[in-house]
Amino acid sequence: MKRLLQTILTAASSRALPPLVVGFFFLVYIGIAFFTNETLITLMAFTRNSLILDGILALIPLNSALRILQETCWHLKKRRVLNGKTSDVKPALFDESVELTAAPSFSDLQSRLGAVGYKTRRSENAVTAWRGASIFPARILFLAGTFCLFTGILISITTRTSHRQMVVEGEPLPVPEGIGGRVERITLANSSGPILRKTLTMEVAPSSSGYGKRVFGIYPPSMYGGSFVYPRYLGLALLLRFSAPDLPAGIEKHSILNCYPPGKEASEEIPGSPYRIVFSIPEPVAGSDRYISYMTGNVTLKFKLLKGKEVLFSGSAPGGGEFVRDGYRLAFPDIRRLVVTDYIGDYGVFFIWVAALLFIGAGCIWLPVRLFFPRREMLFRYDQGVATACSLAEGGARTHAGVFHEMLDMIDARRGEASVV
């Protein structure tokens, strides 16, 4: 049983596991691609609905966690050996390990290593030499990033919920679990930031269900009732009055127009009649902001009135205005700003954000350390008539090996034949 557990643990913490899992999903992706063009979405749907695929994907964060533990243990063991706190020198901790039947002169070794740029530490029966910085912190950050990324992906794929709602100025905030506070104001303004060119704020009054006053921006999205409030598109909420010669009583209806950016058409059927109105926002005058009508609230709507497939006429009217021709009357008594908003229930997003930060941190440490200050270490120990020499290099291995061999020659010159391990 213990042996079985050990085997499972070894497999689960193997460096080969993540590429194998990624390769497996890649093969599934290729297989799906033969049958559908929506390959990625289909693969995500399969993974969401299959415990087996979830389990296989979960192997990557498990592997990362185990590797963090394993590599930390190795690192600490190595530190203990190099600090002289233990005499149990395991060759597996180093690139090379050699035993010589000669008694080294530690002071000669120390002075020679110091002359070639190594820092040294001498204890009673050992000399340790090192230079450069270890990439261990970068490695741990990378593994932690991998853990967070795949945990985030797993959580996101298996638990994500999305509800699209229309947030209308002056109306209660629709939330998946009911009604939130009233949306007091929606503001779109220019931004001077390096990434965002516009800021969008939705100010929401305190709600009867216990939520206080809130202001929602664009990024990072805020949470409300356990969901991220993710503004997607801009639109208008229109109160439309329409009458026609064959519809003298007229009708009044609320319409949601997803009509931004200017030029985008939004169609509205007049129920119980052959009429259809196609709305759009006219392009503003040259030099003006394309979204100036949304920003100021002074909206003029262009429209085409169709009866069946036939276009009867087209025209435009401002918010609060009306248009009358040939017995037809269109009035827009109320136009309000609207934001098409997704409520995203997904805690995996936090993990993905953290993973991005960890990867950036790992990269910022790894690159300069690996290029300019790679860690190189040597240990020379003398116990019971045998000198043990160990060497490890995270970079600059050829030069380091040259110095190591020179040290071995120095030790050997004192006695003669070396025994090989």
Binding site: L196, R197, K309, D409
Partner: protein, 445 residues
């Protein structure tokens, strides 16, 4: 004539035999026998498949075999880089098997079969005849003997690692298949990569709740837009195409030098290390040569030497009721089996479409674009139309059916003297499907 048509394939075959012989230096007779036997099996297999099955099946089977060999190369290259960067990794039993006569024979026979299939597809298709194929096997046999003689004259220091050998064989296989549109892998790969990248970026942005383009500075969006561009498919395809060979070259380069710490003579240590370094450099020649072959295959795929029927779109207008009418006879005969392109413009919007008589005698009206690729349009070759963007061949009898890289079909009314299309339907179809594939121009997701 057959030999001229098959020059790239025969050069590839010569290269494959040469690499196999050098890769299995002690097993020359096994490699020679099995490779030429494999070639003959492949050619005869293709002959029988083309005789007994619809042409799409043998082409599909050969293309799948090429795809599997490329995937295998990917797997081997990842394993090679894993082995070279890890410590204390022992040689697996699979790697040991490669150097046995069974391993060598199996590898050579498979390479022979696939090359034979590709060559047979190139010359025969559905109208191949037996003497032609027999002649092909004869030429392949002669080239095998020449390769055997040439290989003996190569310097002994020019060694080939098993992974390097696989890289070269797969590169040569892909090179010899890239001159056949129906076997080419690079163009479909580019198309799939483009779609995959688009989907991935879109899903990623949705996953981490990145705001839509209207909120983001156009400069920043310009950079994001690169990932939605036409070039991402080509460059992404290039990365996937070349990476295995690069990984294998890196794996050879990262191989640890032998441990010489136990040797107390400095000169001997240096000699051992110098030998190991020289050997590594020699091993690098094959994967680097393979990179050049992969590049030639990608070039051949991107610039195929085939001419297509691609008429200039004729401008058409709609009647006041919005109907576009195209007569069957007149300057253009819609029923001549050729693709006829038209351009409809209205109120600043435009849509490009074509009318085609299918082999079954049915007229079809389709957008000159598909729902996946950028709207580069279609050209007509024998028995098929080709998407200029991704080089996918669409058999004529499936034009008019939706899905994949097929042209987007448009509803129309066939009258006695022509076809009638609703202009609004056409513009809407162009907007809703084609503009979605040209997001960069629009600056949106």
């Amino acid at each position: 004539m057959v030999a001229v048509k098959l020059i790239p394939q025969l050069i590839s075959w010569f290269g494959i035999v040469l690499v196999l012989l050098r890769g299995f230096p002690g097993l020359r007779s096994v490699v020679t026998t099995t490779s030429i036997s494999g070639f003959a099996i492949g050619v005869s297999g293709a002959f029988f498949m083309f005789r007994s099955l619809p042409a799409a099946i043998p082409f599909g089977a050969v293309k799948s075999a090429l795809g599997v060999s490329f995937l295998l190369l990917w797997g081997i290259s990842v394993a090679a880089i894993y082995r070279s960067t890890g410590r204390r990794v022992t040689i697996s039993s699979g790697a040991r098997l490669v150097n046995t006569s069974i391993g060598a024979g199996t590898g050579a026979v498979l390479a022979g079969i696939i090359t034979g299939l590709v060559c047979a597809c190139r010359i025969s298709g559905t109208d191949g005849n037996f003497p032609k194929l027999l002649f092909l096997v004869l030429i392949a046999g002669i080239l095998t003997v020449i390769a055997l003689a040439v290989e003996k004259r190569l310097p002994a220091s020019l060694t080939v690692s098993p992974s390097g050998m696989l890289t070269a064989v797969v590169a040569l296989l892909l090179f010899c298949s890239s001159s056949s549109l129906r076997l080419d892998l690079f163009s479909p790969l580019s198309m799939k990569v483009m779609k995959g990248v688009h989907d991935f970026v879109h899903q990623f942005m949705e996953s981490v709740l990145i705001p839509d383009h209207l909120f983001v500075r156009s400069v920043v969006w310009g950079y994001i837009g690169l990932l939605f561009g036409k070039e991402v498919g080509f460059w992404g395809g290039m990365i996937i195409w070349f990476t295995p060979a690069i990984l294998i070259a890196l794996a050879i380069n990262f191989q640890r030098l032998p441990s010489v710490a136990h040797i107390r003579q400095g000169a001997r240590r240096r000699k051992l290390l110098a030998d190991a370094i020289r050997n590594k450099r020699m091993l690098l020649i094959t994967p680097l040569f393979s990179l050049a072959i992969f590049a030639a295959a990608a070039y051949q795929s991107s610039f195929p030497s085939v001419e297509y029927w691609d008429p200039k779109p004729e401008p058409v207008t709609a009647s006041p009721s919005g109907e576009i009418f195209i007569p069957k006879k007149g300057e253009i005969n819609l029923e001549d089996g050729k693709l006829h392109k038209y351009l409809f413009k209205q109120e600043g919007k435009e849509a490009r479409f074509f009318v085609l008589l299918s082999p079954a005698g049915q007229l079809t009206v389709d957008l000159d674009a598909c729902a996946i690729c950028k709207p580069d349009g279609y050209g007509q070759a024998e028995g098929s139309v080709i998407c200029y963007y991704c080089k996918t061949l669409i058999p004529l009898d499936t034009v008019g059916k939706p899905g994949g890289c097929n042209p987007v079909p448009i509803q129309f009314t066939e009258k006695a003297d022509g076809v009638a299309i609703d202009g609004m339907t056409l513009l809407n179809a162009w907007s809703s499907t084609v503009r979605a594939t040209a997001r960069v121009k629009e600056g949106g997701k």
